[in-house]
């Protein structure tokens, strides 16, 4: 990239040489980075099919054992439930708020944006320190259930939900739609539910899938608030039974991959690239 070509050579030949050099550069970079990223994935598969003992044949035993681990199944159920509750909760909270702010209180728009992006700046492990006393109250009011985690997961999902809904709402003529609905006698909830929502389904799906993948991979809040979600149980299990855990990891990872690839198709359908400029702080 930085090598200087001699100015004496003709433009055509120097361009051809540059093209060759560029191709070589691309191949090398893609190959090296590709190995770095694919090797751990291959290792997951290899590790989870390893037999016990030296020279033992390949086995699928750890994969078959997955269903026979009650704690893993329970945690998976809990995390899936959390994912659904969080996704729905975040959308129910944010869709009306963003519509309302856009139409009625635009001067709050900056504040809402700031608050929604704030979770990117506060490290979860720092926030959990301040959340612990609040969760004492939550537990006191609603009982000690793992579903309580959804409260904070909605906050963790805010940046993603905000960005994708904001893009979605900016792409439609919101004011006209809502005013038309309202002048035909629709209440605000009706206008949002039957007019706005059908127009931003892609954005909502996008936000929902991102939230689901976030919740399925979440560890920090659950671990430090002492709830047994999927990741926490995976880690506990990993100390006792590496084979099964690695199989579970590979399976889960594959599932999340599919989810996020589906997502990239969903968001890719709407024309060229509406990617967020700043990604999450994990």
């Amino acid at each position: 990239m930085s090598a200087a070509s001699s100015p004496a050579s003709s433009p055509a030949s120097s361009r051809a040489r540059r093209r060759r050099r560029l191709t070589a550069f691309r191949v090398v970079v893609l190959a090296v980075v590709g190995v770095f990223f694919l090797l751990p994935l291959a290792a997951l598969v290899e590790f989870s099919t390893r037999g016990v003992g030296i020279g033992a044949p390949r086995t699928l035993a750890p994969w078959r054992e997955l269903g026979g681990r009650p704690e893993l199944v329970t945690a998976l159920q809990a995390s899936l439930e959390l994912a659904a509750v969080t996704a729905v909760g975040a959308l129910v909270l944010m869709v009306p708020t963003l519509v309302w702010v856009r139409l009625r209180v635009p001067r709050l728009a900056r504040v809402v944006e700031f608050l929604c992006l704030l979770p990117l700046t506060v490290p979860p492990v720092a926030m959990v320190v301040g959340l612990a006393p609040i969760y004492l109250w939550v537990t006191y009011l609603t009982g000690d259930r793992i579903q309580n985690l959804a409260w904070v997961y909605v906050v963790a999902a805010l940046p993603f939900v905000y960005r994708s809904l904001d893009t979605g709402l900016a792409a439609i003529d919101l004011r006209t739609l809502v005013e038309a609905a309202r002048s035909l006698g629709a209440s605000w909830p009706t206008a949002i539910w039957r007019v706005v929502v059908p127009n931003i389904t892609t954005a909502m799906l996008n936000a929902g899938l991102l939230t689901v993948s976030l919740v399925l991979g979440e560890f920090t809040f659950a671990e430090l608030l002492t709830y047994d979600n999927l990741q926490v149980v995976l880690l506990q299990l990993g100390l006792a039974d590496p084979g099964v855990t690695v199989a579970a990891t590979a399976g889960l990872l594959f599932f999340v991959f599919l989810l996020l690839l589906a997502l990239s198709y969903v968001s890719g359908r709407r024309g060229p690239r509406a990617r967020p400029r700043r990604e999450g702080v994990s």
Binding site: A4, E46, V125, G130, W193, S282
Partner: protein
């Protein structure tokens, strides 16, 4: 969902606007965010300056000067710096390799979506993937041992190991945030350089370099904050002790033995928030500088 007209602001959009009340519609959001985002952050900030009984004190913050906590901060900064610099450089090279391909090509599409996946992929699963690769029983460890190079696999659980593991989400994040800047470079600029007799080196030194520097540094800062706040991956790899600040917080939160540790946790958390806030503020400044040249051209 089709409730009556008297719900939330059930008055005509035009006419008779009692403007002062319209902010009520945002109350649920503001209340929610206050309880679960602003309040916890506030608790950390305020109680970092208090003793257990609510009296103001600086004792928690002076505790941060203790050797074991100071070294945790130094380690955290070092880990974040190394992994963000390496991640930014490799990520920038990768995104250049991708951007120079066909815009609608399969490679470009798949690398972009895979980066979206990998940038999110941290924590326990990532830790297991690396344990299966370069851990004591790992695939690569075994292959290298066959080739006569015994690594033992224990290095994975040190700071160096963490740095390598962090690259797995740092590089993709860099690709995601830096690609738009590269896409903003217009081919005309290069042609202009050439028609003025400039070489490739001149182009990178005087045109592309200066334009890309602010977005590169901005992305670097974002990666730094990302690594600095990461907890799950480190927690899964290192089950005991507090090499880096997040692990010290875990220790302070979970230790039942010594009383008053929660306040040290708050001081540590405050330290993290301050570091990340400063980094992100700088990042926002650079972002503003970036948009001067590259806005509108990112297509």
């Amino acid at each position: 969902m089709t409730t009556t007209d008297e719900q939330l602001g059930g008055r005509p959009t035009r006419g008779g606007r009692r403007f002062s009340l319209s902010w009520l519609g945002s109350v649920p959001f503001l209340a929610y965010v206050s309880i679960f985002l602003v309040l916890p952050t506030g608790i950390v900030v305020v109680e970092a300056f208090g003793d257990g009984a609510g009296r103001p004190t600086l004792a928690n913050l002076t505790e941060l000067g203790e050797d074991y906590l100071r070294s945790a901060f130094v380690n955290s900064l070092e880990l974040s710096l190394t992994s963000s610099v390496i991640g930014a450089v490799i990520g920038a090279l990768l995104s250049y390799a991708v951007v120079t391909g066909r815009p609608d090509g399969l490679l470009r599409r798949s690398v972009t979506s895979l980066c979206g996946v990998f940038a999110q992929f941290g924590g326990v699963m990532l830790a297991f993937a690396f344990i299966a690769t370069v851990g004591p029983e790992g695939l690569l460890t075994a292959l290298l041992a066959d080739a006569g190079w015994k690594t033992g696999g224990a290095w994975l659980f040190t700071l160096d190991g963490l740095t390598v593991v962090y690259l797995y989400f740092q590089i993709p994040l860099m690709v995601l945030v830096f690609t738009p800047a590269l896409e903003g470079l217009r081919p005309q600029w290069r042609e202009a350089t050439e028609s003025l007799g400039g070489t490739t080196w001149d182009y990178w030194r005087h045109v592309a370099g200066p334009i890309l520097l602010p977005p590169f540094l901005g992305s670097l800062l974002l990666l730094f904050a990302n690594a600095f706040s990461a907890f799950a991956t480190a927690a899964a790899l290192i089950s005991q002790g507090g090499v880096i600040v997040p692990l010290q917080i875990r220790q302070a939160l979970t230790s039942e033995v010594v009383l008053g540790r929660e306040n040290v946790a708050k001081a540590l958390a405050l330290g993290m928030i301050v570091v990340v806030a400063v980094v992100m503020a700088l990042q926002a400044l650079l972002q503003r500088r970036t948009s001067r040249w590259l806005r509108g051209s990112t297509r």
